[in-house]
């Protein structure tokens, strides 16, 4: 009986593998978020010389799960003046784009399972890098729509700020990523990692790496660039009116975006799953690098004060963008020289 089913399913392995991969990536991402919240609160506590969550479970480890239960059972408030459809749509867009973006990220060499070669990625696209930028740029809509549909001035300002900020910093992000594309000659993330088997891109492309990381922090709306949700000025920015699980979805989207950005930096600049010290545990090495970058994100948040809005725009347009243009031109020249010479 089971043999029959297996025989029948044999030509359709590719389909089953695809479905399993999709489920694993989505569920894995969503489970990683709550430990990440715990890590952030714990580290922030240490940085600010206090304890952080330590009451629920050992070291407060159960805290994020308790929080999830709390958020699930909270009353779901939708004010009368809100545009209901868009109000419900916005958090869905944020989470959807965040998860889909991660699906194009490879985190290891293909492995063999039961005679089938399984690539450790959701989808190995020839244009993986562009795909990630395209989908993550759609995520801005979630924020703008949330700000607009709440029918609240603070929310609207938060949404507009965020869209302006993300558009401005996306340019820098794209241009610095283009340096990597120029040097490795491919838009495929797997090929990009392959091209770094000798030395990670962060060393020859150091300025691009720094600019990419700064723009990445701004792109994920993290402190010190968390202007869209500046508590002191805008209450909570675009999600002021959201409560319960819908609020949690924005939170979820932000953390998934943070993970994706760390993974992207790891792939583009830190050599992906190459260990460089002779260790052969690709997934763990990849995860370790992502973990380090996430800690840097948290470190930045607790170290720097939020910068003023006009300074943010000036910094983005008058410093980061010209600098990244110059860097891109420089690396193009290097590439042309190395090809012709």
């Amino acid at each position: 009986m089971i043999d029959d089913i297996l025989n029948f399913l044999d030509p359709y392995w590719w389909l089953i593998i695809g479905v399993v991969k999709a489920v694993v990536i989505a569920v894995g991402l969503l489970t990683v978020v709550s430990p990440l919240v715990w890590l952030e609160r714990r580290l922030m506590g240490r940085f600010q010389v206090r304890r952080g969550p330590n009451r629920v479970g050992p070291f407060g480890l159960i805290q994020p799960f308790v929080d999830v239960v709390k958020l699930l059972f909270k009353e779901n408030i939708v004010q009368k003046s809100a545009d209901k459809f868009l109000f419900y749509l916005a958090p869905a867009i944020v989470v959807f784009t965040a998860i889909v973006t991660f699906s194009a990220i490879p985190f290891g060499e293909p492995i063999e399972i039961g005679g089938q070669t399984v690539g450790l990625w959701g989808a190995n696209l020839n244009i993986g890098l562009l795909f990630i930028f395209a989908v993550s740029s759609m995520g801005i809509y979630g924020i703008v729509i949330a700000g607009f549909s709440s029918n609240n001035k603070y929310s609207l300002m938060g949404g507009l700020r965020s869209s302006a900020q993300m558009i401005s910093y996306e340019l820098t992000l794209g241009l610095t990523a283009l340096c990597v594309v120029i040097m490795s000659g491919s838009l495929n993330l797997y090929e990009i990692v392959k091209s770094q088997s000798a030395i990670p891109n962060a060393i020859p492309l150091f300025p691009a790496f720094v600019l990419f990381f700064i723009a990445g922090v701004a792109e994920t709306n993290r402190a010190p660039f968390d202007l869209p949700e500046a508590e002191q000025e805008l209450v909570a920015g675009f999600f002021t009116e959201y409560s319960g699980m819908k609020f949690a979805l924005f939170f979820l989207g932000e953390y998934v975006n943070m993970i994706t950005m760390s993974a992207l930096v790891t792939i583009l600049f830190l050599g992906g799953w190459n260990s460089y010290i002779g260790l052969d545990i690709p997934i763990l090495i990849f995860a370790f690098k992502v973990f380090l970058l996430l800690c840097v994100f948290i470190w930045l948040r607790s170290t720097f004060p939020r910068i003023r809005y006009d300074r943010l725009m000036t910094f983005g347009w008058k410093f980061l963008l010209p600098a990244s243009l110059v860097i891109m031109l420089f690396y193009s020249a290097v590439k042309v020289y190395s090809v012709t010479a």
């Binding site: 009986m1 029959d4 395209a134 740029s137």
Partner: protein
């Protein structure tokens, strides 16, 4: 159970047929969604919904590109139109505030509708008359599969069409400079402005 599986087996649903059927139905569904979304753009009363329908339409077009193996074009469509241009549209609409248009069927509306109806009928007529010519080019699907669409487009643009491509980029540059010079306001220091 066995018989049922054998029956299924006898259809011999190999990968190509499944893909073909699936792709055709997808093309149909996405195409219809695109048409409906573009209808929504013009028929919707509130501007913000119109803009959202337009985004939906663009995403559908990108999906169609994707289904016809033009992955680079699909992604560029999303990045440029849905990601950058439309966000500015939404920005303006959100800033200016959106009022719902009143719907009343006046004489002008009636005339407009009848014109649209006539044009639509003409379109249907044109569809039945002749079929469109396929585009001829040096890039065959085999070449495309080997190079990847990004590389193929790059080679095509920068070898055969370099002059028009550069001219177009010059045009865009001129437009950008023009916009800045048009939008530039005479800047006065704050003190002088408060006095006058």
């Amino acid at each position: 159970m066995m018989e049922f599986l054998d029956q299924l087996w006898s259809f011999s649903l190999d990968r190509e047929t499944v893909y073909g059927l699936f792709q055709q139905s997808l093309v149909f569904v996405i195409g219809m969604t695109a048409v409906l979304a573009s209808l929504g753009v013009v028929l919707c009363a509130s501007p913000i919904y119109s803009a959202l329908y337009l985004i939906g339409n663009m995403v559908c077009l990108a999906l169609l590109f994707l289904l016809f193996n033009a992955e680079f074009l699909a992604v560029v469509q999303v990045v440029v139109y849905a990601g950058a241009v439309m966000i500015l549209f939404l920005f303006i609409i959100a800033l200016l505030g959106s009022k719902e248009e009143k719907r009343d069927l006046s004489f002008q509306n009636f005339m407009g509708l009848s014109f649209v109806g006539t044009l639509f009928c003409e379109l249907l007529l044109a569809m039945t008359v002749g079929e469109t010519q396929p585009v001829e080019g040096g890039v065959t699907p085999e070449v495309l599969a080997e190079l990847g669409s990004a590389k193929a487009i790059g080679i095509e643009l920068f070898s055969h069409h370099i002059v028009p491509f550069e001219l177009a980029s010059l045009l865009l540059l001129v437009a950008a400079v023009g916009i800045i010079s048009l939008a530039k306001f005479t800047y006065k220091p704050l003190r002088k402005r408060t006095r006058t």
